[in-house]
Amino acid sequence: MKYVYFPGCTQTATAHPYQDSIDAVVKALGLEFQELEDWNCCGATAALNVDVTLSLVLSGRNLAHAQKQGGNLVTPCSGCYAVLRKTNDYFHEFPDVREKVQETLAAGNLNYDGSVKVRHLLDVLINDVGLEAIGKAVTHPLKGIKVASYYGCQLTRPAGGFDDPEVPETLDNLVKALGAEPVPFPMAAQCCGAMLAATHPELAYGLIRRIFASAHAGGAQCIITACPLCQNNLEFFQGDVNAMFGTNFKTPIVYFTQLMGLAMGISPHELGLDRSLIPTSELVQTATSGGKNA
């Protein structure tokens, strides 16, 4: 199947490690990802906060380009995923919106008929590649590694469709296929604070602390994420959260594709693990020792 890949703006910046691991894993699995031609920023929550017309049109241009390239549009970022899906949903639900967006795109000689399917990378891996095929690609089962799967919010809500909006399980099933142990994690799909971790830390750090506490209580040695903003919030502010609450969390926050890569025998460097701010050496050592040091 052909996939048109929408990276989003963070993939060459704060989410560089995510992209490193995606490149490696996609290659190893033999998937064909073609980058979306001249994509623009999806606008994320910022555009929706300021101007809904702008948000729809930013997505509209991306979807128009994707229609030309042909294939499912795949994105690794939950924020981009939510916004692109929202545009598609509004396109189908409100004919007037469809008309106006098409009129706007026509100013740039672009056309979108609503036919492009928007998928999250996790959905493609779980449902198109399949857990069986992924299991077969595992050369270093992550025996003994306890993983808290953090889904965040916009992966499964408002209607991600490929997993439960409140009690999702796709990441946990993936963790099992990699040979690791998913821990019970009640805060798995509760908000990390999103933008407010940067603008209102006095409010958001409490949410982040709860996430760490919940993962820790389950015995997690690391937290995996599927969203650049979640990864940022949990990693960058872990020290500040410790300072505010007198806690001592030192939990590596890695992207789910980085965990996949470790199980597939890909080097930590190629997976962007040396770009982590919180040391992952212990995790990597346990992963590559085949559970001997677990």
Binding site: V52, L54, L58, A194, A198, F236, D274
Partner: protein, 189 residues
């Protein structure tokens, strides 16, 4: 479309959405699941349930002038759980936009500045640039405190996670033509 005498969002595409959102507001039974689920509800002057009650009572100004819209992180728990399937998150987005258009932005509600700054960068380049966004936002909202963020920023730069170069779309004319048309259809920026 008006609700309790108050016109909702103005603007070409938005009028279509407001027709639908306005209708849905009337079905709210004030069960409070939204407020109970909201991660920032306790900090809001008008948590979602109360915000909707205020709007239906013709008191939208209070909500627009408050911290409520800006404390919404769009986690969609309210929307997922609403007994009447009201898209509460979309209503919060609408309130943010109306607050901005009607001059209710406040310096202490920094999310509005972060959002408008990001939109300005996107509007110009077609892509976001995290370094510019952080620097410009902090210069505006927290110029002195920004110094404390420098160590984190430097670490990210060293790890190749905060590039200096801003990316731009290549088809500049195409992008700007579409953006200009958006503005002419009632877009605000």
């Amino acid at each position: 479309m008006t609700i309790s005498g108050r016109v909702l969002e103005a603007g070409s595409i938005t009028q279509v959405l407001e027709r639908s959102l306005g209708k849905e507001l009337t079905t709210c039974i004030q069960c409070g699941v939204c407020s109970g689920s909201c991660p920032f509800g306790q900090a809001m002057a008008y948590p979602p349930q109360r915000a909707i009650a205020a709007i239906k009572a013709g008191q939208m100004e209070r909500v627009l002038a408050s911290n409520t819209p800006w404390y919404c992180s769009a986690c969609y728990l309210c929307t997922a759980r609403c007994s009447m399937n009201i898209p509460v998150t979309d209503i919060m987005y609408m309130l943010k936009r109306m607050a901005l258009r009607e001059g209710h932005a406040r310096a202490d509600l920094k999310t509005s500045n972060l959002s408008t700054t990001m939109v300005d960068i996107i509007r110009k380049n077609g892509r976001n640039h995290e370094l510019s966004l952080l620097v410009r936002h902090n210069l505006r909202t927290n110029p002195i405190g920004q110094v404390k963020m420098a160590p984190l920023g430097l670490k990210l730069v060293r790890k190749g996670r905060l590039p200096f170069k801003a990316e731009k779309v290549e088809k500049r004319q195409e992008f700007q033509a579409v953006m200009d048309k958006t503005k002419s259809l009632g877009g605000s920026r």
